[in-house]
């Protein structure tokens, strides 16, 4: 995010577009030069670094590029660099106060060189430091010097710039209208952040995806940019999704402008490290997932699948189980707070048009859960795959004998994975999970990748992965 005076936009027919840079040509050259100078200029003060970039601003200006682009690049690079206060042998605050007090005691103020000198000599003597150091303390007042350059490539700097420009424009947003097609846990993350930031949303179904309209409590009553900085913090979450489009109303002066951006620009933005797989909310869910995978390998079991729209809200079920023709969602209601249960119950009550199994812990199985328009299963403390199997079979049809072919492109996977030979199975599972393969399918995938598993003990995580010698030849 940048100071708003560095925001560069073009406005045309009521639409506003931030100036985004392709990581090539002049912008790439400028970014590279900025980074090279940071490396060269260790020891310079922050002011000197910024002033020293003035010629690049001129260059950009003459090349027909906005000069604020350079200042934005420098600002972002400076943020990633490390500056530290000047190291001095005396405490600068203490030394300054000593000088001022002494000056006041002696003359009131130093009115000429002689008086000034007399005071400084006396203080230097008292503090046991040199006159030069005292001059530093007075003149290089509160300077910070560059000690480490930013650790980033020109391309990364440009992507960081693009993200910052979009976020800085969003500071002025009245609302954010996000249309996405994404995995459940990605949407869940976005909505958790919405909630944590004190924002509100409404959702509706839109084709295969959802539309989420986000603003704040007072937005209804006031056209306000109050929530702009918070809306800007949601942008990185959206950029990570599979398909996305953002619409925002931007309040500039007293005029409303429209801003839109979609996944065709995805490559201009940094990919943040996000967990490829959702974390389990509880051990209960993890156990259930594993046992269901084991007993019904033919079905595709997904954790936190795509978001469902209920009324104006979004419900992200814990699991979905699908055969080739049908899909069933599963929601596990374990121990939670009263408010949480009430909200969940309300959402589930309104959910229509999908097949849903609600598994409720016996202790919570109050009558209200039994009236839900879904299949309700009561369990006691632990939920196993087998508990739901008969019901699932009825809803999905027989689990076929043949193993479900995981929908993974083996060639892509091969390229993305490191060499797994001689790794333990545990390590291989981690690597595959990172690449997006669900744990249910690990064994099958390894085989198709040309590995075999060599069991050395009963602990599966210590089993060794070996490359099958002949596969390459086929």
């Amino acid at each position: 995010m940048l100071p708003s005076n560095l925001l560069v936009v073009r406005i045309w027919r009521g639409r506003v577009r931030p100036l985004l840079l392709e990581p090539e040509g002049l912008p790439a050259a400028l970014a590279e030069e900025v980074l090279v100078r940071f490396k060269k200029w260790l020891g310079r003060s922050k002011e000197e670094v910024f002033e020293g970039m003035g010629d690049l601003e001129e260059l950009a200006l003459e090349a027909g590029l906005d000069m604020r682009v350079v200042r934005a690049l420098v600002t972002l690079a400076a943020r990633a660099a490390r500056f530290e206060p000047l190291k001095l042998s005396v405490d600068p605050v203490k030394a300054r106060l000593e000088i001022f007090c002494e000056a006041c005691r002696r003359f009131g103020f130093a009115l000429n060189e002689n008086e000034r000198n007399e005071i400084l000599v006396k203080v230097a003597d008292k503090l046991g430091c040199s006159l030069e150091e005292l001059e530093e303390v007075l003149k290089r007042y509160q300077e910070e010097v560059l000690v480490a350059p930013p650790d980033m490539s020109p391309e990364e700097l440009i992507k960081e710039y693009n993200l910052s420009m979009v976020q800085t424009l969003t500071f002025k947003a009245l609302n954010l209208d996000v249309r996405v097609r994404a995995k459940g846990y990605q949407v869940k993350k976005l909505l958790r952040t919405v909630k944590r930031l004190g924002l509100l949303y409404t959702a509706e179904k839109l084709g295969e995806g959802v539309r989420i309209l986000i603003d704040g409590p007072a937005s209804l009553l006031r056209q306000t940019r109050r929530y702009g900085t918070r809306l800007a913090r949601l942008i990185p979450y959206v950029l990570q999704m599979d398909r996305w489009r953002i619409y925002a109303k931007i309040l500039a002066r007293s005029r409303v402008l429209y801003f839109t951006l979609d996944d065709s620009s995805s490559k201009l933005f940094p990919r943040r490290e996000v967990e490829v797989e959702p974390v389990f909310d509880s051990e209960l869910e993890e156990e259930f997932y594993k046992s269901l995978c084991r007993i019904a390998p033919a079905w595709k079991v997904e954790r936190e699948p795509e978001p469902l729209v209920v009324g104006r809200y979004i419900l992200i079920p814990d699991f979905s189980v699908s055969s080739n023709t049908h899909k069933v969602y599963i929601e596990i209601v374990g121990f939670w707070t009263k408010e949480y249960l009430e909200r969940k119950l309300k959402k589930l009550k309104e959910l229509k048009g999908v097949k849903m199994i609600v598994a409720v812990d016996e202790e919570l199985a109050c009558s209200s859960f039994k009236t839900l328009p879904h299949e309700v299963v009561v369990f006691r403390r632990k939920l196993r795959g087998a508990d739901l199997y008969p019901l699932l079979k009825r809803m999905l049809g027989e689990a076929r004998r043949e193993r479900h072919e995981p929908q993974v492109d083996i060639e892509t996977l091969r390229r993305r994975l490191p060499d797994l030979s001689d790794k333990t199975l545990g390590e291989a599972v981690e690597a595959l999970k990172k690449a997006g393969v669900s744990e249910c399918n690990v064994a099958a995938i390894l085989e198709r990748l040309g590995y075999s598993i060599e069991w050395t003990s009963l602990d599966p995580r210590r089993a060794k992965v070996r490359r099958k010698p002949s596969t390459r030849l086929h």
Binding site: M67, L97, I99, G108, F109, A110, A218, L220, L221, R312
Partner: protein, 449 residues
């Protein structure tokens, strides 16, 4: 039954639709399926429901417990009592008193009288310290601080405008009274939300000059209430404020500075002529700035204007004049104001005078202020930080070495030396570079008196 609930700067009405007397304050919110209103309407909603004799539950204000002793040594002057009485009628409104006339005391008296949880909003950390001292001294309680790293809510809490703006969703339901010091800051598009998203039914604004150049002060009646009491500097000087003189001194540019100044100004003017541009006000100037980011010539013209202004503001001759002033006031307490931070640094280093800028570390700023009050240092040089509110009764000399054309800035800088003291006569020196645009700027700001 109808029920009012606090919700992040707004009020939710549960248990039914708003009845006619208060319907205008609410809007239906489909996101939560009930009606919502801005927190500022709380007082009018309650009044509406009460007047109509309707029953309701009120769960809006969650104030911390409050009790303080009857204030000690709180003797109000006549005009302070009048101001308090004028405000008391509606328990809302703006009190306008010159700097140094003791506005803080009026607010402290109101807090003591109401015995209610109070949020005081101030523009600077310096003023936060000052209010903290006043609250401790007169009410005998330690106030909570909110801002500059602290986040503490107590019965009386002091917050900066910045932190109040950021945190009003958490603060807005904790107080019955909200006091805005230097209330002329409040109507800006950001800060006004402090007033709008706060439920406190009682509101007080304090300032020496409510008027804003952008005209937004017309919103003050909605945000805090109308001006309920006003006194001017000229009515009070001599009795409640120190007598003062304003002395204007002209500095000359060196021959080199003169040559450079003329060269730069003519470059700037010839650009305006070539493009047929006229500079009639700040709006025109903003246009030039906007042009300069994409237009090489416009940028050069702007830079030329900028450099010329700096030459005028910081002409070497000014420091010579400052030296004369200082030698005349070796035993007085002097505040020196300049426009730019590098000038502050230069003056501090040359005359060995402590400096306060927005970059000064907290520890050093506090030490300097304490030493200045105790007389261990007798001058401070500053840019814009100390304009508002610094309370040093025996500071008697102000030097405005450079500044803008703003009337408020000028009045505030003058106000810093007007705190009354027996036999005190204050003087404000204004140093202006002859033969430059600064002469006009100086004329503009003095109109405020």
């Amino acid at each position: 039954m109808l029920r009012l609930e606090w919700s992040a700067g707004t009020i939710l009405l549960k248990g039914g639709s708003p009845p006619p007397p208060v319907a205008a304050y609410f809007r239906y919110d489909p996101r939560v399926n009930c009606h919502r209103s801005l927190a500022i309407q709380y007082r009018w909603i309650i009044e509406g429901l009460e007047n109509a004799g309707l029953e309701y539950e009120d769960d809006v204000i969650h104030a911390p417990p409050c009790r303080f002793a009857k204030p000690r040594n709180l003797a109000l002057r006549d005009y302070q009592r009048e101001a308090l009485e004028a405000w008391w009628r509606e328990k809302r409104g703006v009190i306008v008193l010159p700097t140094g006339a003791g506005k803080t005391i009026v607010a402290v008296a109101a807090i003591a009288e109401l015995q209610a949880a109070t949020l005081v909003v101030v523009p600077t950390l310096e003023l936060m310290d000052q209010w903290e001292r006043a609250i401790k001294r007169f009410l005998g309680v330690v106030p909570g601080r909110y801002g500059g790293g602290d986040k503490e809510v107590k019965c009386v809490t002091i917050a900066t405008y910045d932190s109040a703006y950021l945190n009003i969703e958490q603060l807005g339901d904790k107080f019955m009274l909200i006091v805005f010091d230097e209330v002329h800051h409040l109507p800006s598009p950001g800060y006004r939300q402090i007033a709008e998203l706060c439920a406190a039914p009682w509101r007080m604004g304090l300032t020496a000059t409510p008027e804003r150049e952008d005209g937004l002060h017309v919103d003050l009646p909605y945000l805090v209430g109308p001006v309920v009491y006003r006194r001017y500097v000229r009515e009070m000087a001599g009795k409640w404020l120190a007598e003062f003189d304003i002395v204007r001194l002209y500095a000359n540019m060196s021959r080199e500075e003169q040559r450079e100044y003329r060269r730069l100004i003519s470059r700037y003017k010839s650009f305006l002529r070539r493009r047929g541009l006229k500079m009639r006000g700040p709006r025109d100037f903003e246009k030039l700035i906007a042009m300069s980011v994409r237009d090489v010539e416009a940028r050069e013209a702007l830079l030329a204007w900028h450099r010329a202004r700096r030459i005028a503001l910081h002409a070497a001759g000014k420091l010579d004049i400052l030296k004369e002033i200082l030698s005349r006031h070796r035993h007085d307490k002097v505040l020196i104001f300049t426009e730019h931070n590098d000038a502050v640094r230069e003056i501090s280093s040359r005359f060995l005078i402590p400096a306060i800028t927005y970059k000064t570390p907290e520890e050093e700023r506090r030490a300097i202020m304490r030493m200045f009050r105790e007389g261990k240092v007798r001058a401070i040089v500053t840019s814009k930080v100390l304009e508002e509110g610094v309370d040093v009764p025996d500071a008697n000399v102000a030097v405005v070495l450079s500044g803008t054309g703003s009337r408020r800035e000028f009045i505030q800088r003058l106000g810093r030396v007007l705190r009354p003291k027996e036999g005190k006569r204050a003087v404000l020196y204004e140093v202006v570079t002859a033969g430059t645009g600064e002469v006009r700027v100086s004329r503009r700001r003095r109109r405020g008196l």
